[in-house]
């Protein structure tokens, strides 16, 4: 009987123990990440020509080559935004999505509230990539509009446009012509005009005067300004009459734009 009692006691104890542990709630795991103090970032995108907000669909601007032109819409990807500190350290903003899609026809895309917390401190500069680098520019990664409408055909290298500026200019016959001024992966062609190679045209942009300090719980709003006229000058004078209305298959035209792109973006304000 004594043996039976011991067994009963042992079983009861085991049952209580098992029941207790099996009902333990899933408590949140302690955050092992360093408790770094941080602030937040909001990017605002603005687009100007000759320092003034763009009057869209109006052929009222003149580029360095003397072309009279107007802008219908501007669409592009900003990726790999990186914050640099003196001493060479840097931090790339990953955000949820790793990129910003900016579309002048969609006002909500002109504001990018960065999800990542930004560690407090003094930063020297901001850099980013226009478009996607060859690792990230993967076909089929977007399935939903508006990003999916930036698709760059497989035959021309695949992935997505870096930038679209749909524009019109007055040609040599004094008539307004449409131009799909689009940047993306370039191609090389053989003697039969068949694609036989690709050229990655994405490029990095360092924003001048982009030093800032962010303090704890601060939300820093940074306006990035695209100065559209700079796409068409410095170091290359881009002439619409020379390349016509489409450049996706004309590397000689795209490279001019890409080389001019270094000073297209500036900081409007940091506040």
């Amino acid at each position: 009987m004594n043996k039976l009692f011991k067994l009963l006691l042992l079983t009861l104890f085991s049952v209580i123990l098992i029941a207790f542990y099996s009902c333990k709630k899933d408590e949140p795991k302690p955050d092992n990440s360093p408790s770094e103090k941080s602030g937040k970032f909001i990017f605002k995108f603005n687009h100007v020509i000759d320092g003034q907000n763009i009057e869209y669909d109006n052929i009222k601007y003149v580029n360095e080559a003397g072309n009279h032109y107007g802008v219908n819409v501007i669409q592009y990807f900003v990726t790999d935004v990186t914050l640099h500190k003196s001493g060479g350290t840097s931090m790339m903003i990953d955000d949820w999505t790793d990129f910003a899609y900016v579309d002048t026809d969609i006002p909500t895309t002109l504001t990018w509230e960065v999800f990542d917390p930004i560690p407090i401190g003094i930063y020297d500069s901001i850099t980013f990539t226009l478009g996607f680098n060859e690792v990230k520019n993967q076909s089929f990664m977007f399935v939903n509009p508006p990003e999916v409408n930036m698709v760059w055909p497989e035959y021309l290298g695949g992935g997505y446009h870096y930038l679209k500026i749909n524009t019109k200019w007055i040609d040599t016959t004094n008539v307004a012509r449409g131009c799909a001024w689009h940047l993306g992966i370039g191609q090389t062609y053989d003697s039969l005009n068949v694609v036989n190679g690709f050229i990655q045209n994405y490029f990095n942009i360092s924003l001048p005067n982009s030093a800032f300090e962010i303090t704890e719980d601060d939300t820093k709003e940074i306006q990035i300004v695209m100065n559209v006229e700079n796409w068409f000058k410095n170091p290359n004078t881009y002439n619409f009459d020379e390349f016509g209305g489409d450049i996706m298959q004309t590397q000689a035209a795209m490279i001019l734009g890409c080389e001019n792109g270094h000073d297209v973006f500036t900081i409007g304000y940091i506040q």
């Binding site: 098992i18 099996s22 219908n72 977007f142 399935v143 939903n144 409408n149 012509r177 799909a180 209305g245």
Partner: protein, 380 residues
């Protein structure tokens, strides 16, 4: 003794299992919320994941089935008493990709004048509308399929009826109240429920099985001509269709956006179309702009353009190849519009044949014959 051991182990197991049972709230059967069977979508490869399904009209198996009956039931127009019959399927015919195949749609005649009016523009197919971002129609004026259904009922160029007539007619057909009960929880029949059910069915009309889609999925291969046609379709120095009509990476074969595609030179005064995109947005650059239609099943949906001016695909290709008309409103993407006027892609006859060969690969025969989309068996 051995039995006691087993007994105790059994008790332990029972306690163990029952100890973790969650306290679920018990709902008296009478008060349980109505739940129809959720309709599960299988999103095709590379198709959008964002679907235009309003929160107040979730897709259900019962709702879709009811919608299919209503879509095909020619008593739906509510003018049975006048000997006049019309349903959605009267004009939206499956073999024509749920378009009418003849151009403009003609509504039921006016009861007083006996005159039938026609739609402002040619029909648009009911295809892949679940991915329309809320700009239905040639000018994007309709935000929801449900709204379109409601509009059709009273439109003089369509049912030319009244809500009361429609509701009364459907209510008096014995099979419908139980179907509404299955779909919505009660047998009550309203315009709102009719529109919701039809919209649910229309959202199931997905076409993703054309030869081109199969090639993109790696299931079959293009012929050489089709492959060359795809290259022409997706290159600016070719035909440059893709900027507005998609490609491998944009398999709806439409951006669902609006363009003035250089069909005309004049858009104001006597040339003004009060139903173009401009009359929705007020943006002068939208004068003469219309929806870029999907090219999936385009072979089956002529005549073409908003006014049906082109009878055949050959006519359409000929237009883009050399008959573009200049105007200040032409979209910049119409960059082949180069003075002197009336020009275009300037493809050779061989290239035109290749381009057409590719476009024909966008026909989805499965969609055109899918019995799930067809008239229900037994429906009069």
């Amino acid at each position: 003794m051995k039995n006691i051991k087993y007994f105790l182990i059994l008790i332990g197991l029972i306690v163990f299992i029952s100890a973790c049972k969650k306290d679920e709230p018990t709902v008296p059967e009478d008060d349980a919320p109505f739940m129809a069977t959720p309709y599960v979508f299988d999103i095709p490869n590379h198709f959008p994941t964002i679907m235009n399904i309003p929160e107040d009209n979730p897709m259900t198996v019962e709702g879709v089935e009811l919608g299919r009956y209503l879509y095909y039931d020619e008593r739906l127009a509510g003018r049975e008493d006048e000997g006049l019959y019309m349903s959605c399927a009267t004009c939206h015919i499956q073999e024509h990709s749920f378009e009418n195949g003849v151009g403009f749609g003609y509504g039921l005649p006016d009861s007083v004048t006996g005159i039938s009016k026609h739609t402002s523009h040619v029909m648009l197919p009911h295809i892949n509308l679940i991915w329309n971002p809320g700009t239905y129609g040639w000018n994007g004026s309709v935000a929801l399929i449900e709204d379109d259904v409601v509009g059709v009922i009273t439109d003089p160029a369509e049912f030319n009826s009244t809500y009361e007539k429609v509701v009364n007619t459907i209510s008096n057909i014995p099979m419908y109240p139980p179907m509404f009960e299955k779909a919505f929880g009660t047998p009550e029949i309203t315009i709102d429920r009719i529109s919701k059910a039809i919209a649910q069915f229309v959202r199931t009309l997905i076409a993703s099985d054309s030869k081109a889609h199969k090639v993109f999925r790696g299931e079959v291969n293009f012929t050489d001509a089709e492959r060359r046609g795809l290259i022409l379709f997706t290159t600016e120095q070719g035909a440059d269709c893709f900027h507005c009509h998609g490609s491998e990476g944009a398999p709806l074969f439409t951006t669902n956006l609006f363009y003035n595609n250089a069909k005309d030179s004049f858009f104001t005064g006597i040339y003004e179309d009060p139903h173009d995109r401009y009359h929705i947005t007020g943006d002068p650059m939208d004068l003469g702009a219309y929806k870029a239609t999907t090219l999936i099943n385009i072979e089956k949906t002529g005549p073409y353009m908003h006014d049906g001016r082109f009878q055949t695909l050959d006519d359409v290709i000929a237009f883009y190849n050399g008959k573009l008309k200049w105007s200040p409103y032409a979209d910049p993407l119409m960059h082949k519009l180069i003075p002197p006027y009336e020009n275009g892609a300037e493809l050779t006859p061989f290239q035109i044949a290749d381009l057409k060969a590719f476009i024909l690969t966008l026909t989805d025969e499965t969609f055109l014959t899918n019995p799930d989309f067809a008239k229900p068996v037994g429906l009069p």
